[in-house]
Amino acid sequence: GESVGLHLPTLSVQEGDNSIINCAYSNSASDYFIWYKQESGKGPQFIIDIRSNMDKRQGQRVTVLLNKTVKHLSLQIAATQPGDSAVYFCAENKSGSEKLVFGKGTKLTVNP
């Protein structure tokens, strides 16, 4: 069935380093992907999205890469800061579907 997952449940990095959070999806019909950030005690917050007709999209300090060949999605955070510490979720949407499918999160810890 459909599933979206992350490779690592936890990731620890030093402040100032770049972070890479990975996500694998299994539904080749998915055509829209989103990364969310969830801080402790809060709801998920939209970070960046990408459509399947793109390989890369950049935002402020974040980049999302999509490899449709291997059904892999990644979120890169440049110059990671303590405020980036959170759980990160990827989500997918299949064309024609009204719902997002969320994967398991990766907890990012930024060490000072």
Binding site: G41, P44, F102, K104
Partner: protein, 115 residues
């Protein structure tokens, strides 16, 4: 400033009580969703609505019910709370006509504890 509001933020209640979790959004979004999430874990869709008078069950079976009488309001009700209902409940809304993407806007959640 939040555009989607959930109340209460925290609730501790005894077994057997009836509770209603409130969710309101000011963005005019047609689509609204309820997710259940254990701390740090994935989100499980329990209910969704495509508009007024539309409600559907989600992927995760839930003993809760929802209603959508007004566009901006999507309350979730548990008729008889049990300890197994202890979790965080997240409300979200979306409308691709309003935003340029299909992303959801989430509320801050209600953390429910049933004792």
């Amino acid at each position: 400033e939040a555009d989607i509001y959930q109340t209460p933020r925290y609730l501790v209640i005894g077994t057997g009580k009836k509770i209603t979790l409130e969710c309101s959004q000011t963005m005019g979004h047609d689509k609204m969703y309820w997710y259940q999430q254990d701390p740090g874990m994935e989100l499980h869709l329990i209910h969704y609505s495509y508009g007024v008078n539309s409600t559907e069950k989600g992927d995760l079976s839930s003993e809760s019910t929802v209603s959508r009488i007004r566009t901006e309001h999507f309350p979730l009700t548990l008729e008889s709370a049990r300890p197994s209902h202890t979790s965080q409940y997240l409300c979200a809304s979306s409308d691709p006509r309003v935003k340029s993407n299909y992303g959801y806007t989430f509320g801050s959640g209600t953390r429910l504890t049933v004792v």
